[in-house]
Symmetry: C2
Subunit: 435 residues, 2 copies
Amino acid sequence: MQTQPLPGFRDFYPAEFAFRAHLFETWRRVCRRYGFEEFDGPPLEPLELYTAKSGEEIVGQLYNFEDKGGRSVSLRPELTPTVARMVAARAGGMKKPIRWFSIGQMFRYERQQRGRLREFFQLNCDLMGEPGPLGDAEVIALAIDLVRAFGLEADQVRVRLSDRRVLQALLRGAGLTAEQLPSAYAVIDKLERMKPEQVADIREDRDERFGPGVGARLLEVAALRGWPDVQAALAKVEGGAEAGAPFAEVLKALEAMGLAGFVDVDLTIVRGLAYYTGTVFELFDAGRSLRAIAGGGRYDELLKLLGGVDLPAVGFAIGDVVLGELLKERGLVPPAPAAIEVFVAGVTAEDQPHVLQLAHLLREAGLRVEYALRAENLGKQLKLADTRSARVAVVIGPDDRARGEVQLKDLAGKTQRAVALARVADDVKAMVADG
Amino acid sequence: MQTQPLPGFRDFYPAEFAFRAHLFETWRRVCRRYGFEEFDGPPLEPLELYTAKSGEEIVGQLYNFEDKGGRSVSLRPELTPTVARMVAARAGGMKKPIRWFSIGQMFRYERQQRGRLREFFQLNCDLMGEPGPLGDAEVIALAIDLVRAFGLEADQVRVRLSDRRVLQALLRGAGLTAEQLPSAYAVIDKLERMKPEQVADIREDRDERFGPGVGARLLEVAALRGWPDVQAALAKVEGGAEAGAPFAEVLKALEAMGLAGFVDVDLTIVRGLAYYTGTVFELFDAGRSLRAIAGGGRYDELLKLLGGVDLPAVGFAIGDVVLGELLKERGLVPPAPAAIEVFVAGVTAEDQPHVLQLAHLLREAGLRVEYALRAENLGKQLKLADTRSARVAVVIGPDDRARGEVQLKDLAGKTQRAVALARVADDVKAMVADG
């Protein structure tokens, strides 16, 4: 019999689910602090939603099929087309800026390799309707706080930040034509993964791609690090100061928020996708041993292209897989909570209805409670309480009932005391809260 | 441009998402009180997982297809086959009884009609490894508490409870053969939807289905209501007392838990599915104007059949759609929380870095905070605070800064007072907690 999930898919047993819930709950808490509201779309969408954005070549990576009504449909590989569709359907009635986040499962038919899954969860955050740099800063700060909330600090995680407008001004200043820019972005995006001789080819213009001397200047631009150097370079090119103004505002805002220590200005970050129009950023572990944790930027034309609504937007996505690996590597996984807090046990068979009544009373008080589902002696019941890591055992027997009492056992401290029935819920709650 | 989701699929805008989150969070809270632990499986599974349980005819209702590796796969129409698969993969290492719950989206290609969706969310609860009646009672109590937690009481929601063993003993006593039982279950399952002449056909045995007089006695059995009448009928048939013993234990346990008031013993509840072996139950709104809210029972053979692990089990599923309709009908939908609690405003342009710093400080304290993302005068900023339903505005200007203070505005009470910077977070928290 088949007991494994499909290749590239995960089963979340309670321990794995608890870790996933920790990620999602932390993400939710931080997003809400920024006034972001949660939404969700369907995991199955019309195929054209994805081909309209990424072209027919995306289909090779999709879980797409024809449904029983003859519609071409696909499991979602990403959320942005759904966001564009949903905003387009109601844009007129929504207050701007729109602050939305969503946590959902995405599906990509990737070639099978170690650590490559075919499903993953992704948090998407989008701020729509605000073109100014404070919008960018707000979203970058949110991305930083999303990892800080797990205990990752500036020595463990870095934001690599660039701006397409800055890069464009510097590349034009370096002698590239407007037509060469897409090709230049593609080169810069791949620089880190290139072999030295490939980099030399560009520097020497051996492939006559950018023109004599231009390739070398392109590499100089890509090598710029830190705002002072970028700013100095901008000062030397036409329109440079103007192109750099929003970026400077973003950096100033992050400084005011106390988050500048996380940020590296790094012009090699261009992001592969064609649709970014301003800031672009990626989050990495400081040692760069893992893939990017998150990535995003400003895409002021995309919603119009996809959904027909002309709204400037800035946003990012963060997945559960790389962040999860990093947290495990750094020992930042909290222990899963015990399944129950209280175990109710009876001394004799006649106590059973009282056990049920008491268990239900404690559940009504909000406590997590179990009891033996078959007749067992007290020793076995208390062993069961241990197995389930209960904090407290409540024991009821004929003598206790005669006195209107129960026995409360602290299963950690191994102490025991009698408590009046009317006080059980409050006393147990206090013990549980205590540790 | 396409702005609508696929037919039968839903978009969850923030208001709809908040209601869905209210359902899920309430379900989680109640399940945890019963010691149930959350898990999840993949939404896409091998097709054979479903055909093995339900036969090839299920395929007409599935979102099934061939993936790019040539595998026959399907979006999950239900969770039980996944549960069986996951338990089979690890059964040996898991403590019994296993108490599991899961909240997930299911997909069925249903014919399009009003109120019929093609996706829905479902809470599945399963107690595995315990054959005794206290297991049944535990699971039925959980189902009741899951609706009680939304404010639905015994005058609004009813559990219709039966037991296949009881029904079988009474039907055999009524003269049905073992071979006729499946046919009898099918008739009883449909009784409520039959026309009077169809019922008369059975009573008079016009279709010669059950034999002379047997059809009439079958209807008498199905008409039994309440434990005293069922118990009296059982006393008259061979093996009746024995067949009724577990059911009596279940009822006694629900009585001890204080939940008997929700329960109607009703032998017309058989549940369509062949695999139930003991108790069967459905939850309905008391007026029965809606479809069943939840349904389940004991299925001691199913895990063995599906996953190869011989574990007795009892469980149920509850969907988001019918329960959601009922809660809306009864006015039991809580208002969605405001997106933010605090709005930070600056008096002059020079205050902006201080606004950012303060906003971040308040977010660090766990508050939900926004501020204007572009330069606006104070009046406009406070209007924005109103639009977002903020409870408190924190205003900072040059004079305040000179004194190391900010102004706290209670936006509901329209009061204002100066507070030292060091106390802002605590004071705002107190105001927000205050309502």
